[in-house]
Subunit: 340 residues, 2 copies
DNA sequence: CTGTTAGCGCATTCAA
DNA sequence: TTGAATGCGCTAACAG
């Protein structure tokens, strides 16, 4: 015995009106007598009427729903980006269907399929670390569904993107290490598949070059972001004959893990080895020593990306522009590089 | 010029079949000639046909979508619970519509409305700290939409819930403080509106009573979980004539904040004051000193809750049972209470 | 085994 | 200003 959801027909019956009139009243159509409209609206309110979104979607082919795919929920980065995106969508009357790819290409493809099947009006995505093929996303373009990337973007697709200047931020972070007197700066880099990894690596390289420091390829380690491997790499670096005196990590979780290992090995931070991270995670301020890192406007990133997407949804496909928004970063100097 | 989504009609035309036959072939109905079925399936694949979920929802009144409302994304707790819930839903072929109430009652009500409007097949929710009225949730019951609570539950509603034994966990945490020799144990409690606050407070009280320690109401401070206020309360406690020698915090973020303040005031942890948290957040292991805390199976919580919900969806409303699942906790002893 | 028909709830023609 | 009729894409009941 399910309680019947109020429909237009119910209202029409009670008021002795036609369905179309009720529909018009409900949708704010002009050609309705004020009296009629009021009666309909009042009864709708009383009967707790809600438009059936399926019939509308069926007609309009729109869902007022945005798909959002992120690599994970573990680090504080994406949850915060989601908050920004959610707020922006909500303001515009859109819902958000969220899913996480779990850093897996296959899951990302599956997620994309779900989004497609749910006929989202647009897709916001930050790529998994494994993603090198983009067919699952190009499908959206073919269907005329706008896409916007943020943070982890696809360079070959000409769609709007929201990023920070990873090159510049990395450059500044490494330069900071140089300026405090460090000479052998290691880089625990991200997987080559991610543009942010490559950009941060380039920033690292160019900072060294600018300051006439030879690049030692042995000090550059690309890894797949599996935190448990950090221990191996850090030990390897510190146990080498000519160990580094500084470490620039691809992100904060990596840096935090590295700090743990370094401390366990009895080395002092920053005296023996200084550490810099990237992203300013929640824990970075609490860890001992507190972590010098690059702060990104994460929430704003989600917000800007969502608004870029909503712009496309509102506009004709012919007007879509592959705008790339670059947000500002800030180097936050803490005790892992400079003792306070 | 939008690319037309393939429909059953398209396939029917191309194959010179009726719509119903195509539909039957697509839905695995038995009464279809094997040859026909194969032809349909092949063409559907080729034309990248996808069922239009709106027409189906319109007919079945089901959406294969679960609503999920959490108070926030900031702490690591809810993101992890979401992961568990998401996985369980995904396995059963359900999508999840996620939203956060931002710890606001009004936002929670708005979120609930969105869920209702999107005709979710079920609702999973952890209450905001402000929620004292539950009409917005009872609406779901009236509509025959099952609800399951997790973590922050509504005691007055007879629906399934997934929790940990907060009373017992708090009792053990406080007993641990007593056993290491602490006598004046303060409690930074959560808002009275949340059942978990009350239960943890009761566990605190009973542990003291069991060990014949007088309860000093001045050592119990209920607060609204606004982290910025922790500083005030901790200072107040430590500056008092008879300061506490231990602090049991309602959750880890609170405990972590407290540790910061205590350290800044030049007190030693755990010698001057020991600290215990609740939840085992990501940062708790990194903070100095590392935080003794109660670990909860967060991901499992989301998973169990989702499965409980799916059970209800699959069953007739008459079979719904207000099952309460209590998951195990574990006290993780770290340096904030016992120096290693 | 296959085709025809009706209807899910609504917006939108076309008539009145 | 209102009503009747059509169709969005699909499933299901009813015929053949």
């Amino acid at each position: 015995m399910k309680s019947h959801q109020t429909t237009i027909i119910d209202i029409a019956h009670k008021l002795n009106l036609s369905k179309s009139t009720v529909s018009r009243a409900l949708t704010g159509h002009p050609n309705v007598k004020e009296e009629t409209r009021k009666a309909v609206l009042a009864l709708a309110e009383e009967m707790d009427y809600q438009r059936n979104i399926f019939s509308i979607s069926l007609i309009t082919n729109k869902t007022k729903t945005i798909g959002l795919i992120v690599p994970d929920f573990h680090t504080s980065f994406f949850p915060h980006a989601i908050i920004g995106a959610q707020e922006a969508a909500s303001k515009a009357g859109y819902n958000v269907l969220i899913s996480q790819s779990n850093e897996s290409y296959e899951t990302e493809v599956a997620n994309a399929k779900v989004m497609l099947n749910n006929r989202v009006d647009g897709l916001l995505i930050s790529l998994s670390k494994e993603t090198r093929n983009f067919d699952h996303l190009k499908t959206f373009q073919k269907r005329g569904i706008p896409i916007v990337f943020f943070n982890r973007v696809c360079e070959e697709m000409m769609v709007p993107k929201v990023v920070v200047d990873d090159y510049d931020a990395a450059f500044k972070a490494v330069e900071h290490l140089i300026l405090i007197g460090k000479k052998r700066i290691a880089h625990l880099a991200g997987p080559d598949s991610l543009a942010i990894s490559r950009k941060r690596l380039n920033g690292y390289r160019d900072a060294l070059i600018k300051h006439n420091i030879d690049i030692d390829e042995d000090l550059i380690i690309s890894y797949d972001l599996t935190l448990s491997k950090v221990r191996i790499y850090v030990k390897h670096l510190l146990d080498s004959i000519n160990p580094p005196d500084a470490l620039f990590a691809i992100n904060d979780p990596t840096a935090i893990e590295a700090i743990q290992v370094i401390k366990q090995m009895g080395k002092r931070i920053p005296e023996d080895i200084a550490v810099v991270g990237f992203s300013d995670n929640y824990a970075s301020n609490f860890i001992e020593p507190s972590l010098t890192t690059v702060s990104q406007p994460v929430k704003e990133m989600g917000e800007v990306a969502m608004n870029l997407l909503l712009d496309q949804i509102d506009n004709d496909i012919s007007k879509w522009k592959p705008l790339i928004k670059v947000l500002n970063t800030e180097l936050i100097v803490r005790n892992s590089t400079v003792k306070s």
